[in-house]
Subunit: 396 residues, 2 copies
């Protein structure tokens, strides 16, 4: 019989998806170029040529049997080794091949990581503002997602609330840095304070609490800042990565979980994830895509456009008097709306063909998200619409 | 905390995997050419050139943004349409794009199909002999797998036992035709009788019972036979397919679910599967692989080697007096062992460097599986080892 639970989910359309569909529809009326669509977090720059060349070279020159054969259940050894070496070089880690598990993007990585370190009924803590897809990811494991309220001053972590909410039932803490939707990167100070609290809680409750660090925007950092790698500061860390943003390959579904070598049962966690794969039908990402990304691990698309766009939008928002935290990375910005009801605010913006996402589904009220992974020319043109919007609607 | 349930699974290694590892190890001692390894069901012929050409052409000539962008959650529309058209042409069906959901191979297809039509605690019936991975697939949904005992006369379906076991808690029936491990294709008579029983049960219990038809070997048919497409005979059918065997692409993880247009809520089932995807982290197969297979949907690898190998092995087995059903397709054969204890039989075979898989994990006792997806030359040489084995050990 058809599963009624999933059937019910069909009614509840994602706010982002609905806005994006509205933008597309509006585009058919006035030309999509004239719709300032800040709804979707899709990379707007092509993958690097090196990736395309790698795919073509692999298919031209290797034996098809070697490209397209089954991966071992723990994924391709050479690829895992290349990822381990690259992470060690970049972040001063000590990964071995056996700590790396290739996955279908960050969604696949989180699906495995969450199941590996929780059992149904456990609590998973995350921090507002947060990526709304964490809800189905966590509920899909039978776990309960509990949100620590936002620290709206700077969108770092509300440490006091975190310590209070980290009760005995919490088995995993899920962070996203650089953060979607705020664009903020958790500072070394934040990571240190957060992991100190987690270590104390592990001691107090006598069980492991895992940190699951979702880092798909790690390569999009502004102002020459470097990324603080959370796993450096906490042994029980599973780092989840996707090449969707850094290589502009969201459709290829390729990423990984990296298990901190000092984690409890570190050497068992990848084989455990391979077991989990059997039950959820994941069974490795595409072998040729694994092989191709392994050749361009430290390459990226030209990501500079995101910083250019951020600066344009941030300056205009500040000029217009918005309360906004300057993003450290990603392609998102998360200003406070000009009225308490962010849904009403974003509804009014649509009159100016500005497609903004209200913050409610991100776990914060009164803010909105702009995904500025669009052409810089369109960003420039949108600023005029933004000015008209706030002047007309809010007299600013 | 680490999930102890999955940790326990690490101890229980798959029999097939263990035998394959033994074969590899033995290969390092005597040369793998001298190990008659019939353990693993991996295609032994390369993908067709058309697939390689499609991948290269796509990457050379299309805009990277069009190749590597996010698929819609219901997967790529053009690809779904091409699959629907191909199935309609080949099997006289009436699929529309909206009935096709692209997946990461048959494992991904089954993970979605099972979750869509059952809820945790439901029963799923399948038929011995069966593919042992059905156990984690079904238990991963929280369902109970119940096996109808084999009809060892011909490895069709034990209809009497099926009707008796089809109780009110059964919400799905899972079949595999052409069958792994028997190589048998369910006849039109079998499918008709089975689906008649299912229709009567639907009526009796007042709820839908879905047929999940797993068909990755559909293109490997012997003696010019044509495949009986189960969905033709039963409206509530989800057909699960993988290109792993037909195009020799197991590592690329590409397949689909095709929902019978007359199924209950047929138009909702693909959107439901897209929802399921979010919870299990599947989120579409690789976009470039979806696009490439769509260009070669009715092409196959040169599959004739499997029929050649089957004939060689079948004839020799018959000559040696084995009780064996002639396969209609696949690259498996499933003869009766020469003693009751199939494990002991296969253990003795190892002395002759014959790697055979005992039938116990396939849900039948006293048989063994040979996967003859290996070079024909090795098959020929293996026959001598087989003769020596049965003559020496069983005096035949």
């Amino acid at each position: 019989m058809i599963n009624e639970e999933y059937k019910k989910m069909l009614g509840a359309k994602s706010v982002i998806r609905e806005l994006s569909e509205y933008a597309t529809k509006r585009g058919t009326e006035i030309g999509y170029d004239n719709v300032y669509d800040f709804s979707l977090g899709n990379p707007s720059v092509p993958c690097p040529d090196g990736y395309t060349e790698a795919v073509i070279d692999i298919h031209k020159n290797l034996n098809p049997m070697d490209i397209h054969g089954y991966s071992p259940s723990t994924t391709l050894p050479d690829v895992r080794e290349a990822v381990a070496n690259s992470l060690n070089r970049r972040f001063g880690m000590n990964y071995d091949m056996k700590h790396i598990f290739m996955t279908s993007g960050a969604a696949g990585a989180l699906a495995h990581a969450l199941r590996a370190v929780t059992k149904p009924g456990d609590k998973v803590l995350s921090f507002a503002p947060f990526f709304p897809e964490y809800r189905p990811y966590v509920s899909g494991c039978g776990d309960e997602l509990v949100l620590v309220p936002a620290d709206t001053a700077n969108f770092q972590i509300n440490l006091e609330a975190f310590e209070e909410m980290l009760d005995e039932k919490v088995m995993a803490v899920l962070i996203n840095t650089p953060n979607n939707p705020s664009g903020v990167v958790y500072s070394e100070g934040t990571i240190k304070a957060m992991t100190d609290i987690m270590r104390r809680a592990q001691e107090k409750y006598g069980h492991d609490i895992f940190l699951i660090s979702d880092e798909p925007y790690r390569e999009i950092m502004f102002d020459g800042q470097t990324f603080t790698y959370p796993s450096k500061f906490y042994d029980n860390t599973l780092s989840c990565y996707s090449f969707s943003k850094s290589l502009s390959l969201p459709g290829e579904r390729i990423g990984y979980v990296a298990v901190n070598p000092k984690a409890t049962d570190a050497d068992l966690l990848v084989p455990i994830m391979a077991q989990i794969s059997r039950g959820i039908g994941h069974n490795c990402p595409s072998s040729s895509v694994q092989m191709a990304v392994a050749r361009v691990l430290e390459d990226t698309s030209d990501l500079s456009v995101y910083e250019t766009n951020m600066n344009l939008i941030y300056e205009e928002l500040v000029n217009l008097g918005f309360n906004v935290v300057r993003p450290d990375g990603t392609f998102y910005i998360f200003p406070q709306a000009l009225e308490e009801d962010a849904v009403a605010f974003c509804q009014k913006a649509k009159k100016y063909d500005l497609i903004l996402v209200p913050s409610d589904s991100f776990g914060v009220k009164g803010y909105f998200r702009m995904a500025y992974c669009i052409d810089t020319d369109k960003v420039r043109r949108s600023l005029d619409a933004l000015r008209r919007f706030v002047q007309t609607e809010y007299g600013i």
